[in-house]
Structures are given as structure tokens and as C-alpha cells.
């Protein structure tokens, strides 16, 4: 038989291994559930299946497309190829303007309608989110 000390050490290592595996498993699992993918209007248009999960859409706010009433704001996100109508209730950032880049987070109702729960703040006039740049670059 092994001594008590060896057994203890063995137990210790096993516990550490189990915690490690558990940690990695937990993290990866929740990553899978909580990750938000980014798509452009064209990608949504060409996708075979409608993504029902929370996603982010980026592009330009179309000219003369913003309209407001007491409860919601509607506007159109375009990547100059395809467009998507967005309805939104909530706070908007200062740099939310027509013909400026925007990223909206929310869920798709169908291929043309998007219900946003968050509009992401951008803090620099000249700054374009890398995702939006990439999405517009594909045109």
C-alpha cells in the first residue's frame, strides 16, 4: 500500500484536475450561450436560416430614415447593398446620426425587421467600429 502522504497528494492532484476541467467546461459552455455574433445586412439577407439568437448588426444609418415617437425610434441600417428596418426603445448615444456608422444589438423578427435592445455608443467622430468598416468594405 502507499503511505498516507502519497494518497493525500494524489487526492489533491485529482481535486485540482477536476476543478480545472470543470472551470474550462463552465467557461466554454457559457461562452457558447452568451456570445453575440456580428452580422451585416447583406449577410442576413443571404443567410439560409434566420438566426433567432441575439445578434449585432452594423452599417450606416440611412439618410432621412430616422423617425421618433414617444416610445420608440425607427431607422434603417444599410450597407449600401441591403437594408434592414430597426425599431428600438431605449437610450441612444450622441453619435447616433444619419449617414454615420452604427451597431445595434437585438433580435431579428424576419429578414427585414430587427428589434434592437441596445445601440452601441461610439465616441469619436472619425472612429468607425472595425466591424462596420469590414461590413461596408464588402460592398
Amino acid at each position: 500500500m502507499y503511505g498516507r502522504k502519497v494518497k493525500l497528494r494524489f487526492l489533491f492532484i485529482i481535486i485540482i484536475l477536476i476543478t480545472l476541467i470543470l472551470t474550462v467546461f463552465l467557461i466554454l459552455k457559457s461562452l457558447e450561450e452568451n456570445v453575440v455574433y456580428f452580422q451585416s445586412p447583406s449577410e442576413i439577407n443571404s443567410s439560409a436560416e434566420l438566426n433567432k439568437n441575439k445578434i449585432r448588426i452594423g452599417g450606416m444609418v440611412k439618410k432621412n430614415s430616422i423617425s421618433v415617437n414617444a416610445n420608440e425610434i425607427t431607422f434603417i441600417i444599410t450597407d449600401f447593398k441591403n437594408e434592414i428596418n430597426v425599431t428600438y426603445t431605449g437610450a441612444i448615444p450622441n453619435l447616433f446620426e444619419e449617414e454615420k456608422g452604427v451597431v445595434a444589438e437585438g433580435t431579428l423578427k424576419d429578414r427585414n425587421f430587427f428589434s434592437a435592445s441596445k445601440i452601441l455608443a461610439k465616441h469619436d467622430e472619425n472612429y468607425m467600429p472595425p466591424e462596420v468598416k469590414a461590413a461596408l468594405g464588402e460592398k
Binding site: 467557461i27 430616422i66 425610434i73 437610450a91 450622441n94 455608443a121 469590414a134
Partner: protein, 624 residues
């Protein structure tokens, strides 16, 4: 023009002195009893050169010398004096120069103040520190020189991003950098001590001061950034799990773990390898922070300048440092003398060790959440983002055992502890659970996890407050910090549970009303300031008791660069913050209004300050 030249050549001279220091340290290494007055004066000279360079940059900013590219990009003649000065480190080049300034300052103080340690150790620390300093000199001069010359010199600068024109953000970078850079001393010293096989109790109590200093500043720095984000970004919160925030939280977690380990090393001379690894990790994470923020890889609030060349340089530099430290660790580190040190399961060191694991778990969650999107983008070019739900889900449940260990751990003795005479531990636990249950029940919040969380936070709160009145209080700094932490968690919990928010779009003169609150948009004023035009909206807000509060949130339209910012109007009281912020919807008469009531906001800031004060008192106690 003149000052740019002075600044530039000062930098080059500083780099020259670096080589001189390394050379004379190596020469003195074998045969010197003391560090030598020449090395001390070289270190001072280097610091002096960097100070000259830094002040030349400040003067260039104050004089609005637009022949300097950095000044041109980040300043403007109409900017207030205070922000001309603060703008010096509000940009990439200037902030790196500030890094360098703090690096040279710290190593000078280190050489000057370190007594009772072997000369070889001091010299070796100096050499390792100089490697870092040389790296920063090269980085600064090669890829981000603050003194680049523009010809012909423009008449007007581009201006500083208005959201950075804020007192909290003016002092946030220097304080944060004191924390970051303090970890460089810990790093160099840990490597030096490992190479010379000096990792001992004596070394532990010496380096503990430096750990406390950088921990104090890092805590304060994060706090300032968070306060700024709260009132300036108008997102109505204090922590958004934004990558840039995470990047400052990671070294903090590592440093906090290190702070606890060094106590074990100081008392029991165990865990030495762990301490070394943590020292390396803390500095590496601080460097990573600078790398991620400054390279423009992260899509975040701070992404202003991005230049792939800079990113590459820091990345290579980082790898050199990591390889160097791993090399030193594996080849020189000898495990502590074979003294049998038994761990009993119920002892202070076990509880510290267990909480260390929790900290490491928190650290890995934050690390993975922050870098995973980057990796996925590089490998599959899918763009993703990881939001607060991820962190809440993975971190919050583990806070419960963490808080309990934090409460019980300090009550245990070193080596072996008994449970006898500790009935109060159980009594207080029961009281905490009951109290939490009653409070939440009273407000119709019956979520189990909230109740358990609140009870464990109350538990820590009661136990650490009880200790303030105990006559056997041994470790006041620990107690203040732990008490602060319990207060912190409690305030966050109550803040989250009891916050309320109204978001609506209103025109001037319109009224929003629901069962509890009535918001009246009274009127609109305009005002012209030196570098911005301000639109002030006046609101009357009536709560269910009929009390009326007046608010005037503001929109500022800056002229250079043309940017609109919202200034939230916040009414702070002991119990709750009332927060209102407006945004203009383009081409419409509507204003987007967000009104929030956030209980205990003030206590979040105060409790973090308490935590920091705990660290500071630990430092002062040593000095007395």
C-alpha cells in the same frame, strides 16, 4: 519647436544613460560592496532626462506649439489651460512618456530606499528594470515619438476628444500608471531574487511595501476610471465589462492574490514559487493591458489611435520579457528548503490558498472573456462580443464561497486552528441569512441566489465590523479592506436589485407619467462657452410622494473636433443617486431621455476607497 527639440534629445540621452547603467551595474556586480554612488547618480540622471522630456511636452502643449505633431493632433488653442496640461497624457505618445517617467522614478526610489538587502540583488533588479526601460525608450523613439516635427506648422490643432476633457479622467491615467508601473518593480525584483536564490521571508517583507504601493494606486486608478464612466458616458452604470475595463481588472486580481500570498511567504516561508509566478503574471498583465489598449485591437471606448506597428512592437517586447522571466524561473528557482510544513485543513494559510484559487478562477474568466473574441476573429474572422451576462453567470455564484472564506479566514490561526470559542461565527451567519431574507422578502425579491449572496455579504460585513471593536484586533489594514469589500458587494447588490429606469422620447413641454414618476420637460436654454455650445434642458421630476426635484442635464456641442457629449445631471444622496441624461435625436424635435434611480451609488465609491485605504494603512504601519 525649441521644446520639442529639447524633449527629443533628452529622450535619446536617457536611453544612453540606460546603457551606461547596465554597463556599470554589470561591472560592479562581482566586486562591489555597495551599489556605488555613480550608479545612483546615473539612475537619477536618467530620471532627470525623462522629466525634462516630459516637461518639454507639457510646455509644448501649454504654448500650443502645433509644429509638434502630438500637440497638433490632440490640442487646440481654445482648450482650457487645465486640459492643455492634462492633454499631455490623454494621448498615446504622451501616456507612454508618462509610463517611462514613472518607470524611471520608481527604480530611482527603489535604489535609494532599499536598505538591508544584498548589493547584488539591488544591482540585478536595476538591470532587469533597465531592460524594461530600454524597451520603452526604443518603443517611444521608434514608433511613437511625442516630438515629431510638422512643417509647415499648422495654425490650429485638431483638439482633444471632449469626453476626455474631464477632471477625473485627467488624473486617472497617472494614478493607474503608478499602479501598473509599480508592478514592474515587483517583476524585476522577483526575477532578481529568484536568480540569487533570495526568495525568503526577509525579501517578502521588503517587497510587500512595493506590492502595497502599486495595489493602492491600481485600486484608486480603476475607481477613478469607473466614476468617470458613470457620469460622463451616460450609460447609467459603473462597470460595463468593457474590454478596456477588464484589462485593468486583470492585473488588479493578480496583484491582490500576490498581496495575500506574500503575507503567507512572510510568515511561513512557503508558496515561494507561487509568489514568483504571480509577480511575473501581474506585470505581464499590466503590459498586456497597455498592448491591448494601445494597439487598437480592442473595440472599445479607448480606441483612438491605432497603428499595427506599435502593436507588433509591444507584442515582441512582451514575448521577450515573458521568455526572459520563464527562463529565470525555470533555471534559477530552487524550491524552498525541505522543511516539512504541514498544512492543516483549518488554518489561515489554507483559507488564503483557497481564496487564491477563486481569484485565479475570476482572473481566467475575465481573461478568456476578453481575449476569446480576438482569437476567434483572427482564426475564423467571425466577429463576436462577450457581454455582461457571461461574466455575471460565471462570477457571481462563486462570490458566495469567496465571501464566506474572506469572513472566516482571518479569524483562523496560522498552521492549525480550532473551532472552539468561535460560536459567534455561526450565530452571525444565522443572523445574516435572516436579515437578508427579511430585506428581500420585504421588497418582493424572492430570488434564491440574491438572498444567498446578500447573506454572505452581510456575514462578512458583520464579522469584520465586529473585529473593529475587538480588543485583539491585530491587523487593522486587513480588516478595513475586508470591511470595505463587504460594503462594496452589498452596495452593488442593492444597487442592482433596487435600481429603476425610465427611457422615453420627449419634446419640450411634454410630460411622461407612470404610476410612480412624473417627468415634465419644462424648457430649453442655450449657452455659449469658450470651446463648446451648451444646450441645457430643464426637467421637473415628481415621485410618488409628491416631492419635486429639478434637473438640468446638458448637451455640449464642442467646436474642435465637432462632437456632441451629454452631461448627466446627478443628484447624489446617501441613500440613492438620481441620474438623468438626454440625447438629441437628429432632425427631430424629440429628446431621448433616460432617468434612473440608483440606490447606494455613493457607497460603491466609498467602499472602494475604504479598500484602498486599507492597503495604504498597511503601508504606513510598516513605516512607523
Amino acid at each position: 519647436m525649441l521644446y520639442s527639440t529639447i524633449g527629443h534629445y533628452s529622450l535619446i540621452l536617457g536611453l544612453g544613460v540606460s546603457l551606461l547603467i547596465v554597463f556599470s551595474s554589470v561591472k560592479n556586480f562581482q566586486n562591489s560592496k555597495t551599489v556605488g554612488i555613480n550608479i545612483l547618480s546615473f539612475t537619477f540622471l536618467q530620471f532627470f532626462f525623462v522629466v525634462v522630456s516630459f516637461f518639454s511636452l507639457i510646455i509644448s502643449f501649454v504654448l500650443s506649439d502645433f509644429s509638434n505633431e502630438t500637440v497638433f493632433n490632440n490640442s487646440h488653442t481654445t482648450k482650457p489651460f487645465f486640459y492643455k496640461v492634462a492633454g499631455t497624457w490623454g494621448n498615446h505618445e504622451g501616456s507612454l512618456l508618462l509610463w517611462l517617467l514613472v518607470l524611471t522614478l520608481f527604480i530611482f526610489i527603489f535604489i535609494l530606499k532599499t536598505k538591508n538587502q544584498p548589493t547584488k540583488y539591488k544591482l540585478l533588479t536595476l538591470i532587469f528594470q533597465q531592460i524594461i526601460i530600454i524597451g520603452f525608450f526604443l518603443f517611444l523613439i521608434e514608433t511613437s515619438n511625442p516630438f515629431n516635427y510638422l512643417f509647415p506648422s499648422p495654425d490650429e490643432g485638431l483638439g482633444l476628444n471632449p469626453i476626455l476633457q474631464d477632471p477625473a479622467l485627467a488624473i486617472h491615467p497617472p494614478i493607474l500608471y503608478l499602479g501598473y508601473v509599480g508592478s514592474s518593480i515587483i517583476f524585476s525584483s522577483a526575477l532578481a531574487a529568484t536568480s540569487l536564490n533570495l526568495v525568503s521571508r526577509k525579501w517578502a517583507s521588503h517587497i510587500k511595501k512595493w506590492i502595497l504601493i502599486s495595489w493602492f494606486f491600481l485600486t484608486l486608478g480603476i475607481l477613478l476610471g469607473s466614476i468617470w464612466a458613470y457620469y460622463e458616458l451616460g450609460w447609467g452604470g459603473f462597470w460595463f465589462w468593457d474590454p478596456v475595463e477588464n484589462v485593468s481588472l486583470m492585473p488588479w486580481l493578480a496583484l491582490t492574490t500576490l498581496l495575500h500570498c506574500i503575507l503567507v511567504l512572510e510568515r511561513k516561508s512557503i508558496l515561494s514559487s507561487w509568489v514568483i509566478i504571480l509577480s511575473i503574471a501581474t506585470f505581464t498583465l499590466s503590459m498586456c493591458g497597455t498592448f491591448l489598449v494601445r494597439s487598437g485591437i480592442l473595440n472599445s471606448v479607448h480606441t483612438f489611435a491605432n497603428d499595427p506597428e506599435r502593436g507588433l512592437f509591444i507584442l515582441i517586447f512582451l514575448f521577450i520579457l515573458i521568455f526572459l522571466s520563464l527562463f529565470v524561473f525555470f533555471f534559477f528557482h530552487k524550491n524552498e528548503q525541505k522543511v516539512s510544513h504541514r498544512f492543516f485543513w483549518l488554518s489561515k494559510e489554507t483559507s488564503i490558498l483557497i481564496n487564491n484559487w477563486f481569484m485565479m478562477y475570476f482572473l481566467s474568466v475575465v481573461l478568456i472573456g476578453t481575449v476569446y473574441p480576438i482569437f476567434l476573429d483572427v482564426i475564423t474572422s467571425k466577429k463576436i462580443s462577450v457581454g455582461p451576462p457571461f461574466y455575471n453567470k460565471l462570477l457571481v455564484p462563486f462570490l458566495i464561497p469567496f465571501l464566506l472564506m474572506m469572513a472566516v479566514g482571518p479569524r483562523l490561526k496560522w498552521i492549525k486552528s480550532q473551532l472552539e470559542g468561535k460560536i459567534y461565527l455561526i450565530t452571525l451567519l444565522i443572523i445574516s441569512i435572516l436579515l437578508a431574507y427579511l430585506i428581500l422578502k420585504n421588497f418582493n425579491q424572492n430570488i434564491l441566489i440574491n438572498t444567498v449572496l446578500v447573506s454572505s455579504a452581510f456575514y462578512l460585513f458583520f464579522i469584520s465590523s465586529r473585529d473593529f471593536f475587538s480588543d485583539k484586533l491585530k491587523n487593522i489594514s486587513q480588516n478595513i479592506a475586508h470591511f470595505g469589500f463587504s460594503l462594496f458587494i452589498l452596495s452593488i447588490l442593492f444597487n442592482n436589485i433596487f435600481s429603476s429606469e425610465i427611457i422615453t422620447n420627449l419634446k419640450v413641454g411634454e410630460t411622461f407619467e407612470n404610476s410612480e414618476t412624473k417627468i415634465v420637460f419644462e424648457s430649453l436654454n442655450q449657452k455659449q462657452e469658450a470651446n463648446y455650445k451648451s444646450i441645457i434642458a430643464n426637467f421637473n421630476i415628481q415621485n410618488s410622494n409628491g416631492d419635486i426635484d429639478k434637473f438640468s442635464p446638458e448637451l455640449r456641442i464642442y467646436n474642435q473636433p465637432i462632437i456632441v457629449t451629454s452631461e448627466a445631471d446627478i443628484q447624489t444622496s446617501l441613500m440613492k443617486d438620481k441620474f438623468i441624461v438626454i440625447n438629441l435625436v437628429q432632425n427631430q424635435k424629440f429628446f431621448n431621455v433616460r432617468y434612473q434611480e440608483k440606490p447606494f451609488m455613493l457607497w460603491i465609491w466609498l467602499s472602494v476607497m475604504l479598500i484602498a485605504i486599507g492597503g495604504l494603512s498597511g503601508l504606513l504601519k510598516r513605516r512607523l
